[in-house]
Symmetry: C2
Subunit: 438 residues, 2 copies
Amino acid sequence: MASFLSIFTMRNLFVLSLALNLSLIMRVFYEGEKHVPHGFSAQKADSGLEKEAHATQRTLVSLSSSGQDDGEKLIINLDHGDPTMYESYWQQMGEKTTVVIPGWQSMSYFSDVKNPCWFLEPEFAKQVVRLHNLVGNAVTEGRQIVVGTGSSQLFLAALYALAPKDASEPISVISAAPFYSSYPSMTDYLKSGLYKWAGDALSFDKEGPYIELVTSPNNPDGFVRHSMVNRTGGILVHDLAYYWPQYTPISSAADHDLTLFTVSKATGHAGTRIGWALVKDPEVAKKMIKFIELSTIGVSRDSQLRAARILEVMTNSSQNPGRLESGESFFKISYHLMAERWQLLREAVNRGRFFSLPDFQQGFCQFLNQVSQPQPAFAWLKCEDDGVEDCESLLRGHKILTRGGRSFGVGPKYVRVSMLDRDHNFNLFLKRLASIQT
Amino acid sequence: MASFLSIFTMRNLFVLSLALNLSLIMRVFYEGEKHVPHGFSAQKADSGLEKEAHATQRTLVSLSSSGQDDGEKLIINLDHGDPTMYESYWQQMGEKTTVVIPGWQSMSYFSDVKNPCWFLEPEFAKQVVRLHNLVGNAVTEGRQIVVGTGSSQLFLAALYALAPKDASEPISVISAAPFYSSYPSMTDYLKSGLYKWAGDALSFDKEGPYIELVTSPNNPDGFVRHSMVNRTGGILVHDLAYYWPQYTPISSAADHDLTLFTVSKATGHAGTRIGWALVKDPEVAKKMIKFIELSTIGVSRDSQLRAARILEVMTNSSQNPGRLESGESFFKISYHLMAERWQLLREAVNRGRFFSLPDFQQGFCQFLNQVSQPQPAFAWLKCEDDGVEDCESLLRGHKILTRGGRSFGVGPKYVRVSMLDRDHNFNLFLKRLASIQT
């Protein structure tokens, strides 16, 4: 046993140090490289991105010879909500969240044969409950937890579970504009006979049953939301991806029929592809589970184990008394980071009259035990200048990639800008925003 | 740095030893517990399973008091192809396949912004190519690799990519019976307007375009297959999940337009949910990538990293000269294990006239460099007894859960039986099979 352990330690350490080195090298490389982005859920934007990337490559020579700051050549991609801002927190936490998975572990399809959600890792479920209990943002009692390959898969699973199976026509799926840009395409890409995108909830006047998507705080604009239609036959799906203390005051524990959360916006681990749903009706949960069986035969067990570890550390870091004073608290550090970014952004915007930002009402956060500010993961920026019709194009001209208002069901004067990129890119963004206004 | 490493070593070792202990405890527990199974893609069977489980619980007292072997109370679940047989190989390989993932690694959505498949981990792609080059079972040159959350997701992605977007009716999807039992439900569960299950390829006589699924070796019966229809307008999808040396002779490198593989059947890591497609037409690949963007925004990076490590070790273990003599070769050991199981099964079946099994032709395996036997991952067992109409029910009466022929588009005289369960369950299965015939 001793010799086994010593071999293991050495090899393991070697692997680990390699991983550490590689990670650091990649980070340096990634920070330094030109961002020639590929897009998800933004096909329309893609061709623009590619043109932009090519254009940038063509102009590199002259820029280089003019001796300008390297940063000015970078295309900053704030189109996606890639939450790389959180990398530095997890680096500071060191090895606490490192997972070690031996080759023979978690090989079976089955995580828990006694759970209706047979592909749910018990440890992940446990950490989800612990986290909600700590933060107080959702009721977990009397709910079936359904794990998904990100909350996208759970959104589709919810549509499948809630749509009547033998209706004469597909059920209408609606959300108040501005709505999450992927809802229409995710709902309609398979031309399902079960459900169909029916647009803005505010102008929805069709009779009969419907599914309303309530995203709160809302993506893209960050406002707290409630159902807008409230008619007989309406079924609600609550997407609470951003209902965490760093983004919005936690006013009470959400207590809905079907609520979606995702690791990517909570902890920043987007590449892990793990989300979860809290589902009141066991029959609805059963159909969502069936959907995930049919589409991917369960959810990666490795990723659930990793997510469980990360949620565990996140909860541990924030559950000490006087957590706002704790130097390690994930939510404290993230809250202050977001506050700082929003302050800097508002300062940059307020330096001129070219742009505007939404105004939010502060509220009491039960978790932080203080009045806190909404400081969304996206900035919903409006071009106020009369001469600018298309804000996305304007910013693209300054090598800032954003997502234009049309994708969200409103006009092109608006753009959605990720607030979760790495420091370097966020600072460049501020600098360019300032330069546009001067 | 030294103190960091020493802390790391201790914590890391502690986690690792915990993981080892847990894994062993769970193994003992799992082997010993009553298998009250939950099913995927077998909803019909489930109610039966539940009844069976309840019935078993009711009979436990009398069985216990009669002093019979504990094994006889077990329900053996051979309904799914859960590849737990491979656990022992990976245990023997020790720490070689252990992955260590620090908390700040792979956080971004993006694996490789320069690849059209932006969520494909370069290391995973590299190991896929290496493995195919070694085994010689598929041409990778001139192919886009598309990674998926298991090959199920890639199957759906392929239907989406290949179906015409503006056709007046959905394209027909067919496969020759007996076909993989999940094809009909996976094709039809969303009532897509793009594609529609049209049943057995052998009786398909509709005019116009169609997609034919060619599974080779076939699930459930293990035979090598080619396209059955071969008409104008036909598009082929090759599911080669079982085209590996342990299951069938590798006669040549597959060179099709769109080929699917999955880690679960190649290495046994079903819980990792990773599959890959080799796609000739970049436009088709692009649409498959779009499908995966819309359904799950990419594929878990953690799982890809783990799969890459496992494929790497598998390739390394089998690439030494004289590989059939190597004590570590994955393919050698798995080939002999399957050969042994098939020999034992045939002996058990041949002891009576109650059951029969398919007869296969041997062939020359380019990889093993010898004549080898087909020895499929499933046994396609037929009840020859005139008094038995429903083979699945008969076996269920003996606490053996299998999947009946009707799920595969043929009659109930047939059942599909997993050959990939753990030794203990496989041996119990043989014992019960023998007892039915006496």
